[in-house]
């Protein structure tokens, strides 16, 4: 994850994005809150730090996945409409799996990080029969996973 200096550089990068720079400038100007409701890189990093501090018993595999996942979140911010980045919830379940999930108007999106083996992505649509369940290894395509997570 990025340190503070890297944050500043990163912020400048997304502010200068051709496609969404103006929208990011609007966000930075209007919303300086510390929560992920402000979908900016600082908030993504703060969520990462919050998870790491709250769940100190995460396995090395989970830490690696989390790191890779959140770095990917920071990367895709440059390329997607920031309005697509919505808040998500997280918890560690009784099976020691770390769940990141978004409950949206269209459905429930889960990213489930197992302690030692794999990451599962699931989407269950509301009001339709759409169900998606995919499994990713640590060397899987996390960029597509991140897009899936935020696209619903």
């Amino acid at each position: 994850m990025k340190n503070d200096f890297a944050h500043i550089i990163f912020k400048e990068e997304i502010l200068q994005s051709n496609a969404f720079g103006s929208q990011y400038r609007e966000y930075f100007g209007e919303n300086n809150g510390p929560t992920f409701n402000n979908p900016l890189s600082e908030d993504i990093n703060s969520i990462y730090n919050a998870i790491s501090l709250k769940y100190t018993g995460l396995s090395n595999f989970q830490k690696d996945v989390l790191n890779k996942l959140f770095n990917t979140f920071n990367e895709i911010i440059k390329r997607i409409d920031p309005n697509r980045l919505k808040s998500f919830e997280y918890f560690l379940n009784d099976d020691d799996e770390l769940l990141l999930y978004r409950n949206t108007k269209t459905g429930l999106v889960n990213l489930i990080v197992n302690p030692e083996e794999c990451v599962a992505y699931s989407y269950i649509g509301k009001g339709d029969d759409v169900r998606i369940l995919k499994f990713y290894e640590i060397d899987g395509d996390f960029e597509s996973l991140a897009y899936h997570f935020f696209s619903k």
Binding site: E89, F91, N93, D94, D95, E97, L99, Y101, N103, L108, N110, I112, N114, E117, C118, A120, S122, I124, R131, L133, F135
Partner: protein, 181 residues
């Protein structure tokens, strides 16, 4: 069946001599209480050992109202109603030819195909006739809290598939606790 001794449980919910109804109906509801903070994702936070639900019954065989699942049926508990919990409702959307709920899940692990099965069993309690459980088998092992760690917990794909199946059955996200007090 032992008689229900909890005075606050309505007589209609007492099992007495009534037998389990082994068949289910598509469209029948299954009610489960859960903490409000988990209502968005009620099956994300629990292990999958014999999940208790109440069945609604169907047609002219209505067995319970959704709020009945908020009753405590444990004699040693001091509360009568879980007023701090809410209700997650599932709908049975498919059954086998015998009108029973039975789903198969598979996973390859170390070159072996692992097969699990999830059934819904009507399992009346003395004070709760509509009580049911989702029972899971991995191979010939019935999953219990005692063997969970050495059976189902080892098979991540199957667990995720089961959770996805359960979550896909949820029909009401926020059913308020409107129990008449």
């Amino acid at each position: 069946m032992v008689a229900c001794t909890l005075q606050y449980i309505p007589e209609i919910l007492h099992t007495n001599d009534r037998q389990p109804i082994e068949v289910f109906t598509v469209g029948e509801f299954m009610y489960r209480r859960c903490k409000p903070e988990y209502l968005d994702n009620p099956f994300g936070n629990i292990n999958l050992t014999e999940l208790s639900h109440n069945r609604s019954g169907f047609g002219d065989q209505i067995l319970s109202d959704e709020n009945d699942v908020l009753y405590s049926i444990k004699i040693y508990e001091e509360i009568e109603i879980y007023n701090d919990q809410q209700i997650s409702t599932l709908e049975i959307i498919s059954l086998n030819q015998e009108n029973k709920y039975c789903k198969i899940f598979e996973q390859m692990k170390d070159g072996n195909k692992i097969i699990a099965r999830m059934d819904i069993l009507h399992d009346p309690e003395p004070c709760m006739l509509p009580h049911c459980i989702f029972r899971i088998w991995v191979g010939d092992d019935k999953i219990t809290s005692d063997n969970y760690k050495v059976t189902l917990k080892k098979f991540n794909e199957i667990r995720n598939k089961i959770r996805e199946e359960l979550t896909s059955m949820i029909i009401k996200e926020r059913c308020q606790n409107n129990f008449p007090i």
